[in-house]
Amino acid sequence: MTTMVMEREAPTLTATPWELVYQRPAALTDLPTHYCPGCSHGAIHRMVAEVIDELGIRERTIGVAPVGCAVFAYKYFNLDSCEAAHGRAPAMATGLKRVRPDRIVFTYQGDGDLASIGGNEILHAALRGEQITVIFVNNAVYGMTGGQMAPTTIAGMKTTSSPMGRDVLTQGYPIHIPELLAPMPGVAYAVRRSMHAVAEMRKVKKAIRMAFQAQLQGVGFSIVEILGACPTNWHVSPTDALDYIRDRMLPEYPVGDFKVDARLRD
């Protein structure tokens, strides 16, 4: 089999030398990811890595990977990382940060991991005001295990374990994590963003930056919920998945700032 090589050398179309304006962040390893086409995890990993590079904190940052599709996040981030038991990333991050307060510690978690089995963990880490940063990817399903209903599944949404659509009267209502955590005194930053459009993605990255900034300034617990696409388990194309976020997820999960500590500066 021949390898098709379309990767070009740095382009030489013009006389003046090209200026490099974007390249793969150093905080990502060179490994291709196992994610499905159009899955938001890849772009969110990349934005986290860019922020870590821009803040110049790669050598002192420790990531905690979840159980879920992002289970291999520790292989994709080019920094010290470890893997927590399902939902226990905030507990592991708590331990790491308390033992090494000079380190920047973040968790990367899906909605099944964070809001279902790990609901208790995240609640109490926020209540304790742990100086950690939480990147929370809400794709409204358990992606890794085949698209079952999560606590974040929206009303009426069909999943493998709610084939008739989530019935809120018997299966309960979706959970709003940043709204829930924002009133807690130890929480410095709690916001929601979305991956459904270019302008929104830029805001995702800004929020990730602010969340790390909160930890750098030592003002408290920080969390960014990001509405992301799972085209595979939503049974739509990657581009239609963005419309699904806009039309179905956003009405239930409005983007917004639920808490921004006054001491926080960009």
Partner: protein, 77 residues
């Protein structure tokens, strides 16, 4: 004049099409051939000289396929 361009790591592309939809200059399209993973990767099409090096493709791509270049702005003499 060509103001920008991109290089594409075709072997990493998963054919999701997010960049094709997002590119404001419409210079990206799927190749006819398949890459080693069985996806038809994205490539610059015949409109490639319209690329401004804005980097929107690199922003939306979940697989970090793009490197982006721009022509330095020429100052008036």
């Amino acid at each position: 004049m060509t103001r920008g361009t991109v290089t594409i790591q075709s072997d990493r592309c998963k054919s999701c099409g997010l960049c094709i939809q997002a590119c404001p200059q419409h210079v990206l399209a799927f190749a006819e051939e398949f890459n080693l993973r069985g996806y038809r990767p994205v490539q610059l099409d015949e409109r490639e000289h319209h690329c401004t090096g804005c980097g929107v493709c690199a922003l939306v791509c979940p697989d970090v396929v793009f490197t982006v270049y721009r022509q330095p702005l020429r100052r008036a003499a």
